[in-house]
Amino acid sequence: MSEITQEKLDQIKTYINRIKQQPYPGSYLIAVLHRVQGMFGYVPREIMDVVAEEMNIPTAHIWGVATFYHYFNLKPIGKHVVSVCMGTACYVKGADDVLQALKRELGVKVGQTTEDRLFTLQEARCLGACGIAPVIMIDDKIYGELTAKSVVELIHRYRKAAGEKTA
């Protein structure tokens, strides 16, 4: 998903052209970055230059905005994004144990991607599932009432599924 193709570039340009018809077009910069991340999984540096050119905004400004917001990834991410909820409810119910277990199991720190590009570990703030805390989200799926042990089993299941597909 992360390669840059002419088709994707054209899509971005079309979108920006549409925005230019609106009042205050510059205000859509964050919306454009959301689009870009939706296409590539992250916001590639090269694309920032394209956006800068098309929107007539200095790349430095775009860089400033993209780095300010936690939501934007500046590096490619793994196949699965594992977000550990570190909201208050999850924290009170032992999210930290879950996070430590994941760090150990995946061998990465928060914000990093495993070497096999399978998992990116992230922290999230309240996934809105406090009733089943502690909670993690893998891609779009919520898993609740986890323990240090069950979360490791969960990762094993994902690894196994990925192994079966490539094999």
Binding site: I30, F68, Y71, A89, C90, Y91, K149
Partner: protein
């Protein structure tokens, strides 16, 4: 167009037992006979909790509740109620409903009985993706009332009369804010709905939008009319994909039905609503930062004044309110500000939605009248603390709020009482904490959050929170020193006074409130090197008791080989080598390892 009638038939076990399924067939046949199939929708619901009066049938619009009906009553109900729109009085359930027309259908189950749903009145009751459903529960009636018979000034007067205050945290009087913005003269004004919901541990706004997006849109549109704006913007967290999807769908449906766009409902008022996504920055919940974010910039706050009501989005007068604030507006217009102001306390009117979580039995979203006590929420609605544990504290207001101990459980929910007790109302996060949590560690958790989210613009917040965090970290690691408590207090008060925006001004609150109410825990950490909850790992020692059967699981899992022992004999931990990782504790299946 005649609004569709929605029939809700209770499909709970008691009602089924009392023949509700046969009644359903009879209803369908009768509706068909009158050619009303297009105009009437039948829903089944789970147990409505009024089992003694079953079978229960509710007809909307109007919330008419029929009870004890038989197949013989069906023709009369269809003829009178659905055709002539006259409820059949003799079959209507007569009961002293708790309050007005809200939440009566949920009977007297404690979880619901103490609640009163105004902002969430339709959540879980209507299909949020259907504008027809919303119309059937008097949806957009408030907007129609405003556009056909009220001047903007009258709308503002009604909101003032209601005494509604902002639900985003600060509690500023909503009517006054509208008034100030309406008085500004400008050819361009904006209305914003703040759905950024940054408090980690709260999901009120998300649920309100997911459960009933049209209410929020209707509220915003009324606000736009009142202040003379042409455009509304919902600023919502990108982390809420379902809420975003439902909002988009609702906006499209409203446009199609002439409820947004040019000349709404044939009036000369034109207004449209657009969605803008946040991108994961807590500070963007702050209104000036939020406005900068909509403008496509870094979300950094600016000093007020000028307030957004004077100089807001694109430099134009802007009215900004929280999701829940907006959701109250249609009710205030329909039922009147006077009625609204009868709910609640002297200074805080209406209800408040809370996301109840942490160590309580019933976690979830609740809406209670202002003036309800913390005890009622935690014990009656929440069902108390699970696993026989002892209550320690309740945290409200998230990273800007405080922790209240048992002595404060009879505090009433209102802006002033919570502030006087040393916490804040906040946007609605409410986390119950039991004896298993360490208050110093909890304070550190919140400070880590605010420190991480500090935008870095002003020094007290950027540097000050960092220093505080260093001290807290030191204390939790067992290196606390004499004078640390005083230093925390001094720093906290300084940051509170000197920071640029609400983030910094409130960042020390969790620390200051735990210092006030749980000072002994700080002292234990510093002087006795003890963490009573066993959370701060450096201050914990693990010991193996005689329950040990010598299975060796802990010995194998220990990463530093600190555990020794023969098979089937009690093992021991070498405290010198132990790094207190706790793995043995989680591994032991026999509860033989204890924290001390």
């Amino acid at each position: 167009m005649r609004a569709k009638s929605i029939l809700t038939l209770c499909d709970g076990p008691t009602c089924i037992h009392k023949n509700s399924r046969v009644i359903r067939e009879a209803l369908e046949a009768e509706i068909c006979k009158h050619g009303l199939s297009e105009e009437v929708g039948i829903h089944l619901s789970g147990c409505l909790g009024m089992c003694s009066k079953g079978p229960i049938l509710i007809i909307n619009p109007g919330y008419t509740i029929y009870g004890g009906i038989t197949v013989e009553d069906i023709p009369e109900i269809v003829q009178e109620h659905l055709v002539h729109r006259q409820p059949v009085a003799r079959l209507v359930v007569q009961e002293d409903h708790l309050y007005n027309r809200f939440f009566r259908i949920f009977g007297d189950v404690d979880f619901f009985g103490r609640q009163m749903r105004i902002a969430l009145r339709n959540c879980g009751i209507i299909d949020p993706e259907s504008i027809d459903d919303y119309l059937s529960v008097r949806g957009y009636e408030a907007l129609a009332k405003v556009l056909t018979g009220m001047s903007p000034r009258e709308v503002i007067a009604e909101v003032k009369k209601a005494g509604l205050r902002g639900r985003g945290g600060a509690g500023f009087p909503t009517g006054l804010k509208w008034d100030i913005t309406a008085r500004e003269t400008s050819d361009e004004k904006y209305v914003i709905c703040n759905a950024d919901e940054g408090d980690p541990g709260a999901f009120m706004d998300r649920s309100a939008i997911e459960g009933d997006p049209h209410t929020v849109l209707e509220g915003i549109t009324i606000g736009g009319y009142a202040i003379g704006a042409v455009k509304g913007i919902v600023y919502i967290r990108a982390e809420y994909p379902l809420a975003i999807k439902r909002l988009e769908k609702a906006i499209a449906a409203a446009r199609e039905n002439g409820l947004l766009g040019n000349n709404i409902l044939g009036s000369n008022f034109s207004f449209d609503i657009e969605i803008r996504l946040g991108a994961g920055a807590f500070v963007c919940g702050e209104e000036t930062a939020l406005i900068h974010s909509i403008e496509g910039r870094r979300g950094m706050p600016t000093p007020r004044p000028p307030y957004p009501s004077v100089k807001g989005l694109f430099g134009k007068p802007t009215l900004i309110n929280n999701v829940e604030t907006w959701a109250n507006i249609p009710v205030i217009i329909l039922d009147g500000g006077e009625w609204f102001s009868t709910v609640g306390t002297e200074t805080s009117k209406g209800t408040k939605v809370f996301a109840l979580a942490g160590k309580v039995h019933n976690t979830g979203l609740i809406e209670v009248p202002m003036g309800t006590t913390l005890r009622e929420i935690i014990y009656d609605i929440g069902g108390g603390i699970p696993d026989g544990k002892k209550f320690k504290a309740v945290q409200t207001g998230g990273p800007s709020g405080g922790c209240l101990p048992e002595d404060y459980l009879d505090t009433q929910i209102d802006y002033e009482s919570l502030a006087a007790a040393g916490s804040i109302m906040g946007s609605g996060g409410m986390i119950v904490i039991d004896e298993d949590s360490c208050m110093v560690n909890l304070a550190k958790f919140f400070l880590e959050f605010t420190q991480d989210e500090s935008c870095g613009k002003c020094t007290p917040c950027r540097g000050g929170t960092k220093r505080m965090l260093e001290i807290l970290t030191r204390i939790t690691e067992g290196n606390g020193k004499e004078g640390d408590i005083e230093k925390l207090e001094r720093l906290g008060n300084m940051i509170r006074k000197a920071s640029l925006c609400g983030l910094g001004q409130s960042a020390p609150n969790p620390v200051l409130s735990t210092l006030k109410n749980f000072r002994h825990e700080y002292e234990e950490h510093i002087y006795q090197k003890k963490c009573r909850a066993g959370i701060c790992s450096n201050l914990v020692t693990y010991e193996i008791t005689e329950k040990c059967i010598g299975c060796g699981a802990c010995r194998r899992v220990c990463p530093v080989n600190a555990i020794a022992g023969k098979r089937q004999e009690q093992h021991v931990i070498n405290q010198e080598t132990c790094i207190k990782c706790g793995q043995c504790f989680t591994t032991c299946k026999f509860d033989a390892i204890v924290k001390a």
